[in-house]
Symmetry: C2
Subunit: 326 residues, 2 copies
Amino acid sequence: MATIHDVAKRANVSVATVSRYLNQNGYVSKKSKEAIERAIQELNFVPNHVARTLSTKKSNLIGLIIPDIENPFFPELARAVEDTAYRYGYTVILCNSDEDPNKEKHYLKVLTQEYVAGIIITSTDEKISGEINIPIVALDRVPKTELPTVTTNNKLGAEMAGRFMLGCGAKELLILKGPKQLVSSEERLEGFLKALQGKNIKIHIVESPYELHDAENITFEFLEKHPSIDGIFGSSDVSAIGALKACEKLGRKVPEEIQIIGFDGIQLGNYTTPSLTTVAQKIYQLGEMAAELLIQQIEGKTIEQKHIAIHPELIVRNSTRKEFIQ
Amino acid sequence: MATIHDVAKRANVSVATVSRYLNQNGYVSKKSKEAIERAIQELNFVPNHVARTLSTKKSNLIGLIIPDIENPFFPELARAVEDTAYRYGYTVILCNSDEDPNKEKHYLKVLTQEYVAGIIITSTDEKISGEINIPIVALDRVPKTELPTVTTNNKLGAEMAGRFMLGCGAKELLILKGPKQLVSSEERLEGFLKALQGKNIKIHIVESPYELHDAENITFEFLEKHPSIDGIFGSSDVSAIGALKACEKLGRKVPEEIQIIGFDGIQLGNYTTPSLTTVAQKIYQLGEMAAELLIQQIEGKTIEQKHIAIHPELIVRNSTRKEFIQ
């Protein structure tokens, strides 16, 4: 069944625009209106109005704990969880753990105590601490503990990035790996390295937080020391966008002198210059499936699949070269 | 007294980096470490550890309702509210109203019912609906109803942008005004027009949501019809960044052929190419003061100032020309 997201994608507008159109609330340009109407027909989309009867009962509240509200990946993910929950008549309360295990533990305590019927968490702590006595789903980051999970096949995605980077002819690579406490960042490193196995490529690995500012500073320092680097893999799009800015400040042309690939597929990758080649997670689908998996538990339905891994797709934009070396 | 934000600013790193440094949790590059330590000394910053004793009592929960989690301005604002609340031993629960008055009303009902001790709201509804029986502060957007408010002097800021645009020699301007239901967007239009009064400038005004995608589409359509436009004022940074992309797609050079000024001062404006000239709201200070104003009410302290308007500052980057016409 077509979702609001499918309509947005087909109409080449944002989900927010479609929801403004559907709720007749706020401005939608004539061109967008027409595109949305076309998409709704083509997909024969039927807006779901369960949400109209939203309740304020505790039993309709879902807690969503994300690690960094300033990384656009998480707002986009949260937006998808909210849309879906709303469609099913649930309300989402957001908590930002700020990649701090203590804050995360605190939020888990606050929410489980008395506030929500279930929790979706992107944990900064692979052991998710504190005893949880209500339905829960781990989103994006798979914890060591045994919980229902919805995530991207990170290893596969990073391997795709590695193979593509090779095809583009890079010879000396900088890998901006993510925080070491994250399983997903280790998986992305592993996948990328797998693609380079046995190839005659020089590799530098440095850890960078998923953050524009730090990624920029770290890349700047590193490129100054290693001017022969001609390719960068950012383990997140914000890392890659930070790296892009560092290249600009050093007067290194992207993609002519240095090629850059990110990971995540945030909307922002379209708005940098050059636009960012990236391994796109299906962000909306991730949030949607996590919400559905949680709601199934809350409503005591049987769960067909407890662990969902979604395949990412490589989106080729302008931060990598067009001509391939086979 | 110096805050974590002052330290971040002085050290030229993000607030998140400083908090990672202080909590010794997560990666901080050597260069950043040194910069942070220097800044802490120079500002003689004393980290506040009230937060260590965070409680999960209802009386320590604050609700924060924002209108659009996907507009980076609001995550940055939320981050500031959280930092401050945390410093005072409070926990923040976030709600994303999605610019939908019905969702906003619903969240107000949910939160006031039983969950939080006070609410900070950036309302999408100038009349803030529903009876609120707990302390509340209106943040960023000043509602018609009589509430304590923390906001930016929008009219003044937009007037600064207008004067600067004139100084840069633009002759035909496109104003991407914000959603008409927002007082702030009307104030920004008013302020910008005030600066142009009596000047021989051609002006086009079109409404655009505060959103990359729509702003890009709207600007693209408009520039095709009016190729002689040589200046654009985005009533928000995301509008301006969308406009920047539209110019790129149309092959119009920024700032040589078209100059662009935004409004907000989000971190992202540093990461576009060219980087964005903008009227920067003091985002962190806005969130900080709103949290303090709310906590004063929650704790029954007397409030010296019920309405706070913070002066913005013009940040000149590369989307406007350097040589001024006097």
